[in-house]
């Protein structure tokens, strides 16, 4: 299995720098998600790896093959051995499902060999079997559902046995109800085929649910790479932490393994040492509000969402607001007083760490947060 690696990659469109010193690597059979808000260079990164976009600097290698190292080396996309799964699949509308999958297997006219057709047919059958569309070989792409089209796109990408499959928000156009199912299927198929893949997305639930590791990309920079749990629990900055999940960020003063906050004492992940001022990042599921006539906080809003409720609490003195995630229906009354306890460990950021201010684009400086909690 081939290890894909990109180091110090810079790329731009015209005069606009889109990738700024990007590093990533991908091990055998692994699925890496690149998570970032739209306009942060995710698609450009994929196109750079695929060879569809020339990079300005840096190096991209697959195993021992150098794919790109400007200015001397730029391997054309058709010789890189990468599979591409763009948004909405991009099946060839003029070809049947079978011909779509076969596309990358057909050699140029002059290099065809006897027996090649039979071998191709076997490979196509194998892949149609893998993606569960063995009976749809003669169908036209237009006759398939969105999910089926994605599966054909995957089979087509896998057919020439690429070193890596690159997926550009492949599930964004699907019905949200189908999305979760299809992406698990796709992940299982990739595992079955033992092909590594890079998935770029702006959907953090998608990134966290399917990726073995994920990379946070903002303003063309890779900010952090790790397992979803690790990045969620120990973000490198408050910014990354708020990007990967809903969070309340408050002032804190830490000493040793604990910090004093508005919400009371909070355990700090990793001992800090002497008393340090800074900020602490608390997740909604860590906040436990309890009705208390003498409590410091007031319940501002309760949103019931089926399996859980989101309780927005305010501190009237400082104006600080936070959201707590409570199992089931919350029995708290709006306007009532509550006291708060914070469970588990929280990430602490000493004030000396400068706040990263590289918001990507002005359209959505804030990542899509369904329950605005900051």
């Amino acid at each position: 299995m081939t290890r894909i690696e990109a180091r110090g990659v810079y790329a731009s469109y015209g005069r606009t720098r889109v990738l700024n010193d990007v590093d990533l690597h991908l091990d055998a059979g692994e699925m890496l998600a690149v998570l970032g808000p739209s306009g942060c260079g995710k698609t450009t990164l994929l196109r750079a790896i695929a060879g569809l976009h020339r990079i300005d600097a840096g190096v991209i290698v697959a195993g021992t093959r150098v794919l790109a190292r400007p200015p001397a080396v730029h391997v054309d996309p058709e010789r890189r051995r990468v599979g591409l799964m763009p948004q909405e699949g991009a099946l060839f509308p003029h070809l049947t499902v079978r011909r779509n999958v076969e596309f990358g297997l057909v050699p140029p006219l002059l290099r065809r060999r006897r027996g090649g057709a039979a071998a191709r047919r076997r490979r196509v059958d194998e892949l149609l079997e893998l993606v569960g569309l063995a009976d749809s070989g003669d169908a036209r792409p237009q006759e398939l559902s969105g999910g089926q089209q994605q599966r054909v796109a995957l089979a087509r990408a896998l057919a020439p046995r690429p070193d890596v499959v690159l997926m550009d928000e492949p599930f964004a156009s699907l019905d949200p109800a189908l999305r979760a199912g299809i992406r698990t299927e796709v992940k299982d198929m990739l595992k079955a085929d033992d092909t590594p893949a890079i998935l770029v997305t702006h959907d953090r639930a998608e990134a966290m649910s399917v990726a073995d590791r994920l990379t946070i990309l903002r303003a063309g920079r890779t900010l952090q790479t790790g397992t979803p749990v690790d990045v969620y629990r120990n973000p490198v900055s408050p910014d990354v932490g708020a990007f990967i999940g809903d969070a309340v960020i408050v002032e804190a003063s830490a000493r040793g393994a604990a910090a004093d906050t508005l919400f009371g004492p909070v355990r700090v992940a990793g001992a800090v040492g002497g008393p340090v001022d800074g900020r602490i990042l608390i997740r909604p599921e860590q906040i436990e509000p309890a009705a208390d006539p003498d409590g410091r906080f007031v319940v501002a809003r309760v949103v019931f969402a089926g399996g859980y409720s989101l309780v927005t609490i305010t501190d009237p003195r400082s104006g600080t607001t936070g959201t707590a995630l409570v199992r089931g229906a919350s029995l708290l009354d709006v306007g009532g007083r509550v006291s708060v306890r914070v469970t588990g460990e929280a990430a602490f950021f000493p004030s000396s760490v400068p706040e990263s201010d590289d918001e990507c684009e002005h359209r959505s400086p804030v990542p899509e947060a369904p329950s605005g909690s900051r």
Binding site: R47, A50, G51, L52, D76, P77, E78, R79, R80, V82, G83, L84, P86, Q87, E88, A90, L91, F92, P93, H94, F103, G104, P108, A153, R156, A157, A159, P160, P162, L166
Partner: protein, 501 residues
């Protein structure tokens, strides 16, 4: 490749100024030039105004009102586009000889050109956001006042672009003005070419025409860019039609009058003259020969033009470089070039560089290629642009290089657009008159030139079978083409409407 489209014109310019600018300008600033210019200007203004009024009114009636039968009218009113203007002119002059001159020329050209205004305006009406009109109604303006003050504003760019296209058609038109004996610029060019010993006069006049046509073409393009009516996005919704009530009968009369003048009279007149000529012996053999010649030339031109157009279309669709934009503009300007000047330019060009091919089919096909390359580039480019880039990317990553990707993916996907362009070229060549008149090989006649010859000597009965055959050759494939394109439902945007017949 796009330079090819303009090279004969460039050569014509060089040729004109070879004798010194003084000589060229002395030929230019003559009473004759002024007379021609004034007559063409008058005709163009009348036709433009007529097309604007008839086109906008017809568009409004068929899209925004509850006029009974408006769906049928919407289709029927576009039919004049399929009738060559000189066929209509032939019937009108044969039936009503008094119309000769400005009235006849204006009548025929308005009847032929108003769909050029009606179609884009109807599209603008149909795509306008009904919410805006509804707001106007709730603010106290009634349906007619809203139509005038709100909806009309939305179609101004479309109407202006359509009117310019009609003007362009008018100044380039040769057949209709010639048959109506209206001494406009194109006819002046032709007379100077036929009569004069020194063809430089014709060349000078032809260049004046090119300048006017180019200005109109560029103006039209600027206007067309602003011709989208909808501002916001959102689900498109069709506005409630405005009830005409007691205005139904007047509205009907208007629509029926327009249809009578533009479609019924030409068709019935044609049938009448056909029956008339059936009493005499018709030279069926000649008609058949002319038809075969026409089909041969049209097929050859379609093949040549498509072979030339596909690489241009691929290049123009892909690039955003200044060269690409210049090529696109060159192609666009070429689509407005009058057939008479291109014919003339190819004559000069051929005599100088390809004397062996002068008065052979080869040179004629070259002229057709120059004239109609844009017709094929337009739909082909649109079809290529509308194929998604993602599909190309996938093909590249699957191991097909750029050329193989074009062959395996892009061109098959763009095939309907390319075929539509080829068919359009075929149709347009089949009814082309002025360039064919100048360049056809000795003894080879097309339907159009046979019709022309017969009407020149006032043998209207003899002309009838040729006119009928022409209508068959142009109307029937138009319907087939339209159906085929609709069925494939590949968007063929920006297909330039053919200019000059």
């Amino acid at each position: 490749m796009a330079v090819f489209a303009l090279s004969p014109i460039v050569h014509l310019t060089v040729r004109v100024f070879e004798g010194g600018t003084g000589a060229a300008f002395s030929l230019l600033f003559r009473q004759r030039t002024l007379d021609l210019a004034v007559r063409t200007l008058v005709l163009t203004l009348v036709v433009a105004l007529g097309c604007l009024i008839v086109g906008v009114l017809a568009a409004w009636l068929v899209t925004r009102t509850d006029l009974p039968g408006r769906r049928f009218f919407a289709v029927a009113l576009a039919a004049p586009l399929a009738i060559p203007s000189y066929v209509a002119a032939y019937v009108w002059i044969a039936e009503f000889p008094v119309l000769a001159g400005l009235p006849g020329a204006a009548l025929v050209l308005i009847a032929s050109c108003f769909p050029l205004v009606m179609l884009p305006v109807a599209a603008a009406f149909a795509s306008a956001d009904p919410g805006v009109s509804e707001v106007s109604r709730t603010l106290g303006r009634n349906a007619f006042r809203t139509a005038w003050t709100v909806e009309a504003r939305g179609v101004v760019p479309a109407a202006a672009a359509g009117t310019l296209l009609a003007s362009l058609y008018t100044i380039s038109d040769f057949g209709a003005v010639a048959l109506m004996r209206y001494d406009a610029f194109t006819l002046g060019v032709y007379s100077a070419y036929r009569g004069g010993l020194d063809r430089t006069v014709a060349a000078v006049l032809g260049l004046v025409l090119v300048v006017i046509a180019t200005v109109l073409t560029l103006l039209e393009r600027r206007l067309r860019r602003g011709a989208t009516a909808r501002t916001g996005s959102g689900v498109s919704r069709v506005a409630e039609p405005i009830p005409l009530r007691r205005w139904v009968v007047p509205a009907w009369s208007v629509v029926l009058a327009v249809l009578t003048v533009s479609v019924l009279v030409p068709m019935l007149g044609l049938v009448r003259w056909m029956i008339h000529s059936l009493r005499f012996t018709i030279a069926w053999r000649d008609v058949l020969t002319a038809m075969l010649t026409t089909i041969q030339y049209a097929t050859a031109a379609a093949v040549v033009v498509v072979v030339l157009a596909v690489p241009v279309a691929v290049y123009v669709a892909r690039t955003s470089s200044p060269v690409g934009r210049a090529a696109e503009t060159a192609v666009y300007i070429a689509h407005g070039l009058p057939g008479i000047t291109v014919g003339l330019a190819v004559v000069f060009f051929g005599i100088r560089f390809l004397p062996a091919f002068y008065q052979t089919a080869v040179l004629l096909i070259v002229a057709y290629a120059v004239l109609f390359l844009p017709l094929a580039v337009g739909p082909a480019r649109a079809a290529i642009v509308s194929t998604s880039a993602a599909v190309d990317d996938v093909s590249r990553t699957l191991g097909s290089g750029p050329a193989r990707t074009d062959r395996r993916v892009t061109l098959p996907l763009a095939l309907p657009g390319i075929a539509a362009g080829a068919a359009l070229v075929f149709l347009t060549v089949a009814k082309e008159l002025p360039a064919t008149l100048m360049l056809r090989p000795r003894g080879a006649d097309t339907l159009a030139t046979e019709l022309w010859s017969a009407t020149q000597v006032l043998k209207y009965g003899e002309a009838a079978p040729y006119a009928l055959a022409l209508v068959l050759v142009s109307v029937v494939p138009t319907i087939v083409l339209d159906r085929a394109v609709r069925r494939r439902s590949v968007p063929v945007r920006e297909a330039p409407v053919e200019v000059a017949s």
